[in-house]
Assembly symmetry: C2
Homo-oligomer: 338 residues x 2
DNA sequence: ACTGGCAGTTGCCCCCGGCGAGTGCCAGCA
DNA sequence: TGCTGGCACTCGCCGGGGGCAACTGCCAGT
């Protein structure tokens, strides 16, 4: 059936183009792949593929290049899984397991992902939604200011400084500390926030205003999830390696990378588990028109965090997907131990 | 005196080259500057300046370009101060004063510096060396692990997780917490670290091993100054704006920016107060051969932190220096309030 | 000490022709 | 109907060459 062969041709075109970065013609295609047909046949198939929008030619006398649509179908239906080598797996594992700290895990993940894929790595800090409260601390500062600290089971410390109307006395602070700790320790952050509201009732009415401010700050601290709003980026130097035809595209990409909001949106949309691929305009970001994002959520947390890589649309999708998936798996495992 | 005019010529060359990004010849120089002499005279001066190593010509039929040495003398002796406009000052002030947080101050400084100079901005997190200990907290985790938290007067929270040989009982932890807090609160971080050593003596010998591990971890936390080892970078997108002749240089620069160690060394060397300029090879970093760093320490802290910008050697030095100095001044002021 | 002029060098730009890669189409064959 | 071989055609790329213009260096003159 000719339909199948056309898809084979498309796959071959994508693979060759990714390997050589040059438009691929019917002849060179046959040199590198054993399709049992003549160049003319390939040409016919190519003409049809072009008509259907999977490939295009930069100029008349050049070979074909996959379009976004071509990459899309390649990723969805044509790419075969390319598992990581044992050495690569080991590298990931040993490098990540040396981490001393949640932050360190993130830093190392970025490095290893960038290294592995030769692309730009993006890692969102882990979500706290599954973590429980380990400790609550209130520290009075000067001028009626108070430092509210929450230590979570994952070893993360969230802090916030608040301004109060008046300086609470030692006794009240002590009482608050005890009650708030009692009400929240061991709870998940979301639940803890609920319990706090109830805890207010136990205080004398005259203390209510000040207690309320503190509790509400604490509650914010618990739910604001500042950590999932942070992102680590690495491997930007790879941008310069993507090829000289990327010189134009490099500035918008750097701009996008500086806008955490953009990155968060991109990673945040990776709702489904397992690796996701967004190609060119599918990123919904103008500056990333010539880039593709391979991302995956990690860890068990539902509304969880994600990581991924950003590379040229002409990337090695199977390899990149495998790398992203592997790192996500290891990172998830590492963080769940805590 | 002809010597003076030669320096005027050099200044004019630097200014023109910075403005146009093109080698400047004797004629175009006279078009833009009122030196009261003929092109031939300028040519003679140029020949001498070239002999002395201040300028060079890319090829015979081209104009002259300043050398590193030329920029150096320009910065040291020829550049006239170019104060910021009132609007710029106001922009810095209002933007920075919106910060809610030490981290936020740093983030905003990076943005404003990058914006102002159209270069890459680098800001080291503030040193803690002048901060005092506000609170010490020990939080037992599972598996004989312990979370050590230090809250400083500047509102920064330093944390560290340590592994112990055995799980200390509640009473010991309580006792430790009290003693360590007593010994350190109100002290500067450096002194506090010293006091800790003395505090060990107060414990029963059988507790010594565990107490020692905890104290030493705490001591590390106090002195390691992790914050000054952190650096925020922004405005990398400006790299792509530096001109197409920079395409070659962009990758090494991005690599250098990813190596925090390199950046720390660069900023750390800016020992003297006031803006410092390091040009090309003076950075001591191979990848930054075509770049120049304008940096300044900020805040009162002696061994303090620094910030600066990284741009092409052909940058607007007076403007950049003014911007860096202004931001450093504001940031220092902001942080000293706490 | 400075100027005007002149010869000399050299990179840049544009044009052009040849080359080669690759295509589309068509007639022929299983 | 689907595949193949062949052929004419289209373009982009590359290298060479000539003209141009920007500068310089030098020298004689004021």
């Amino acid at each position: 059936m000719a339909d199948d062969r056309r898809l084979d041709v498309l796959r071959a075109i994508v693979e060759d183009y990714v390997a050589t970065h040059e438009p691929v013609g019917s002849r060179s295609l046959l040199d590198r792949h054993q399709l049992g047909v003549s160049p003319a046949t390939i040409r016919n198939d190519m003409a049809i593929l072009e008509e259907e929008g999977y490939i295009s030619q930069p100029h008349t006398s050049a070979g074909r290049i996959p379009t976004e649509k071509g990459y899309r179908i390649f990723v969805d239906r044509l790419a075969t899984v390319k598992p990581l080598s044992a050495a690569e797996r080991r590298a990931i594992e040993t490098f990540l397991s040396g981490a001393v700290d949640v932050d360190d895990v993130v830093q190392r993940s970025v490095r290893v992902l960038a290294q592995l894929t030769n692309q730009i790595a993006i890692v969102q800090y882990p979500s706290l939604s599954l973590a429980t409260v380990r400790h609550v601390e209130l520290v009075p500062l000067d001028n009626a200011r108070m430092l509210v600290v929450v230590i979570t089971s994952s070893g993360r410390v969230e802090q916030r400084i608040i301004e109060l109307e008046s300086t609470p006395d030692e006794a009240l602070v002590g009482q608050l500390r005890t009650r708030l700790t009692g009400a929240t320790v061991g709870q998940r952050l979301g639940e803890a926030s609920v319990r706090l509201a109830e805890a207010i009732d136990g205080f004398a009415p005259r203390h209510r205003p000040i207690v309320t401010s503190i509790v509400s700050a604490l509650s914010h601290t618990l739910t604001s999830e500042r950590s999932t709003e942070r992102i680590a980026v690495g491997g930007t130097a790879n941008l310069a390696r993507f090829g000289h035809d990327f010189d134009q595209a490099i500035q918008p990409v750097l701009e996008a990378l500086e806008e955490q909001v953009v990155l968060l949106k991109l990673l945040g949309e990776a709702a489904a588990p397992g690796p996701q691929v967004r190609i060119g305009s599918e990123t919904g970001t103008e500056g990333l028109a010539s880039m593709a994002l391979v991302s995956s959520t990690y860890g068990a947390s539902e509304g969880g965090s994600a990581l991924g890589t950003l590379g040229p649309t002409r990337m090695d999708y199977p390899g990149t997907i495998a790398a992203v998936a592997a790192v996500a798996r290891y990172v998830g495992r590492l963080l769940n131990e805590d």
